[in-house]
Amino acid sequence: MAGRTLYDKIWESHAVGILPTGQTQLFIGLHLIHEITTAPAFDMLREKGMDVAFPERTFATVDHIVPTDVRTRPFMDAEAEELTQALEKNVKQFGVEFFGIDSANQGIVHVIGPQLGLTQPGMTLACGDSHTSTHGAFGTLAFGIGTSQVRDVLATQTLAMDKLKVRRINVDGTLGTGVYAKDVILSIIRRLGVSGGKGFAYEYGGSVIDKMNMEERMTVCNMSIEGGALVGYVNPDGTTFEYLKGRPHVPTGAAFDRAISYWKSVASDADAKYDDVVKLIGKDIEPTVTWGINPGQAVGITEMLPKPAEYSDPAGATKAYEHMGWQPGAPILGTPINVAFIGSCTNGRLADLRAAAKVAKGRKVQSGIRALVVPGSAEVKKLAEREGLHEVFKEAGFEWREAGCSMCLAMNPDKLNGNEVSASSSNRNFIGRQGSPQGRTLLMSPAMVAAAALNGKVVDVREYQ
């Protein structure tokens, strides 16, 4: 019998049974919630007269709409205040642990889960947010869900699910200097397309992934959904266990040793059978920048913008050019920017801030450029400040903010104006994503964003190494 993948193993151990519809009832080990996608779910529970089945397996925070500058209550945005109050009321009524705006544990759900050791290998994890695949970095079967599914997890700690196929993505060799995890995942999406992952879980491996630290692996897994894959994961290894050791929700002593043997047991077998295998070579990956209106429309920093005919969907590429205002054949290098945003669940962790600070240190943001650094969590902010990163950023002319999702999706006051161009370390360059219907987003690594901020235009960060 062929070996099993991590996906197979976790699926089987969490399957409660087969439903009359043919779907599998899957147990959800950890449920994370935030203010945006949950209020109607709690209303539905009340309507159905149901309680939360496993309240100790759900954790809540506020991240999407929180202001990152003035945090005094009530928030200046009355809608944000109302939605926050709804969550505060719901977690209290249903007995869910909550990391509120003043908590030392507040932050983006996908940053605080790992940081607290809540996210662990061999677990299923769901959250009403498509970037839940981030947690797959730990060998966790993690995926985003909608609000009605949040209701189901609250009411039953399970979901009705269909099993996915598994595609192994090997990134072999080594990455060049100035090339980051963000460039790896943008290259994968560019290669396989924004819907290429439909029906698949992505298992990332190969020497480049093996060598990555946990924060880098999280960046890769985070954007699986941008490639159409609901789930992305990396098999747990020594790097994973080392990261988890000593975190608040991770077992200690003999239980930690037993946990490690369980975690090791869920990794894909050496002879695991995959539905598809794809290979990328690390040294071929350049600092990568998106030019269009989906994350698959990306180029290496030394490349010219492609002709629409080079895409399988030329009409889509033409629409992207209409929105962005660039010309095919022009270089991406030198594209002027107005705003620089460093943060988000993709790239708002300590390693990301360090990489950006290394570029910014002793230099100045180009005059006229609005540059923001928004740590992914209150803890990331604290650790960064302990290292003096905030001083590096502030001296360079970046604003240093409180934790939240901020300009990744602009549900708080951090927004683009008009057709501003943003160099952004976030995950989506969709039309209107950063708060202005005419706004334009160039996705890139945090170090590339810092370099763009210093120059007022897209540059090659390798010049700073």
Binding site: A53, L83, G122, S148, Y262, N294, A315
Partner: protein
């Protein structure tokens, strides 16, 4: 408990929104996710594509009077990609669209539609082009989407549609609102939980 509603057919006229990779940020801009309920989502589908900054109408199929009252939406590839926001299918449904026919759908979006009782079904590229042209030529054309028989018909024509068998079963049996189905197995759920080592701090 909510009553069981079997979704077997959706009939009516259709509206076409062309283009691949239409993401949920376009279907509903994030600022409308600040509302505490889904109640008003029907006012917002494709808001920034339908209205300019001053609130004036822009050319868009959902603004075109000839498609008013449509109950089916025809789309192209990878519709509903991006954010998991259920607000997107809620906006389309509350606007009056009870089924979506397209070349393909993003995974979370299709799941959200199904759990709401909104069929999201696929047809081939050639067939969607025929369906779209039919609507654009004669917006009064009435379609019958038959989930049981897996067809969409209009006039004398009948086209095969596809959807995952589990979704078809959930819709036609009336168990698309899955909570009751899942909740019935709560004892078994607890048994499964007991077997997972992390649920009891990795017992020796």
């Amino acid at each position: 408990m909510s009553e069981i509603v079997k979704i077997t057919n959706v009939t009516g006229t259709a509206v076409t929104i062309r283009g691949n990779d239409i993401d949920t940020d376009r279907i509903i801009p994030a600022r409308y996710l600040k509302e505490v309920t889904f109640a008003r989502m029907g006012e917002y589908p494709f808001f920034d594509e339908r209205f300019d900054g001053a609130g004036n109408l822009k050319p868009h199929p959902l603004n075109d009077p000839k498609y008013k009252g449509a109950s089916l939406l025809f789309v192209n590839k990878n519709f509903g990609c991006g954010s998991s926001r259920e607000h997107a299918p809620q906006a389309l449904y509350r606007y009056g669209l009870n089924a979506i026919v397209g070349e393909s759908f993003a995974a979370i979006f299709a799941g959200n539609c199904t759990i709401m009782g909104v069929p999201a079904v696929t047809v081939s590229a050639g067939d969607i082009e025929q369906l779209m042209q039919t609507v654009e030529k004669d917006p009064k054309t009435s379609f019958n989407l038959d989930i049981e028989a897996k067809t969409i018909s209009f006039g004398e024509q009948k086209i095969a549609i596809d959807l995952p068998e589990t979704y078809r079963s959930a819709l036609t049996s009336g168990s698309w609102d899955s909570t009751a189905l899942l909740r019935a197995n709560l004892e078994q759920v607890k048994k499964t939980a007991t077997k997972l080592p992390y649920m009891s701090n990795f017992p020796g």
